[in-house]
Symmetry: C2
């Protein structure tokens, strides 16, 4: 533990919640790396393949710092990730893209949802953890790439829009389903979200409002792609 976070981490429940949070983020990044690397195979050109592979490596680049921090907190990084393997793997299993555009949308929408969630939770964290979580958010222009590719594909074939809009809804539905599983299964993490840990927290109604905000931003992202949601 670093000198700058003594008070919050004196509470073992808070420490446990942070270990959960960082474990979930780390496994999420590893998993995103794997799926994006897999989706890169669907790329129609070498240039597109390199673009999606860059997204994959950008996700993976955050894992090292999350592992270090987990070790500093006295946790085994891989044990911390383990509880999130099943829900995250299941999310990916149920949302395996059928083609290049579904893969692009998944990368864009999935990244967006994860980032929104991190930003929401960051407000309730100690300064060190907040900084670490926010560092996992940097967008290196990949969103613009996805928007550009999807919009021009729909312009060329408007029927594509209907199928991809359905796909976006499915992604959101699965993400919410798995997020709910995590909240039910992981008491320390959900206590943090619900303000049950003795920290400036949020109540259950606030969790509901948070999900509403995340859903609204998903709708905005779909609109940016030129898709209804």
């Amino acid at each position: 533990m670093t000198a700058s976070t003594p008070v919050a981490f004196e509470d073992p429940q808070y420490r446990e919640a942070i270990v959960d949070l960082l474990g979930a983020i780390a496994y999420g990044e590893i998993s995103a790396f794997e799926r994006l690397a897999e989706d890169a195979k669907l790329a129609p050109t070498l240039e597109d393949k390199v673009a999606i592979a860059s997204m994959a490596t950008a996700e993976f680049a955050h894992v090292a710092r999350l592992r270090e921090r987990l070790t500093e907190l006295g946790a085994d990084p891989f044990a911390a990730m383990a509880p999130f393997q099943e829900p995250i793997d299941r999310f990916h299993e149920y949302t395996a893209p059928g083609d290049w555009f579904e893969g692009l949308i998944k990368a864009y929408v999935g990244d967006g949802l994860a980032n929104d969630f991190y930003r929401e939770i960051a407000a309730y964290l100690d300064a060190d953890t907040r900084e670490l979580v926010l560092a996992s958010l940097e967008d290196s222009g990949h969103a613009a790439f996805a928007v550009d590719r999807v919009r021009s594909a729909i312009a060329a074939d408007p029927r594509l829009g209907g199928r991809l809009a359905l796909w976006g809804r499915r992604l959101m539905g699965e993400a919410l389903t798995q997020a709910q599983r995590v909240i039910v299964d992981r008491e320390p993490l959900s206590a943090l979200l619900a303000g049950g840990v003795d920290r400036p927290g949020i109540d259950l109604a606030a969790i509901g409002r948070m999900f509403t905000r995340i859903t609204e931003r998903h709708t905005e992202r779909m609109a940016e792609l030129g898709l209804d949601s």
Copy 2:
């Protein structure tokens, strides 16, 4: 073109050879990334998966600088890579690992072969290009990881050694086959290797000696894994 490499690049054949070389290295890294990311699926533990995914992202990290340099030289980076797609893809197609250990050995041996080749060719390059090529070599401790995992697996099951030794020979054979194809097909690159470009170069007998040295180092690497070659 940068100010520090004017003389060498006044020779259009030299420039063409360097575009070939950087294109080959860049596509090799992209391709290594893809295959390592694929092999990560075979990892027996999450820790092993992260180790091989780190090797994948380390390869990919070099692509950006190679692309920039190709653009500086007035080349289209993706056009420069295109001639090497077929031989490199074919190498990977013929050497798809059947299990985790074959994947590990391929990563270790393939990386070693590529590094030996770059080191050999670096001596014949202008300073800027040499620096760029050598920067693609950094080993971040991944070799030690592969050696450790393979040696302990053979200690636990000595029969594995025979199969993996055959695998190592197959990797080397396919690498040489595809390298030979490239040398036949890509005149500018082979002229550089053979000293045909008006630069301090090497003759055909020297190319033979170079391949002998590369083969010897392959034998040393196999021995480090505890395998005959």
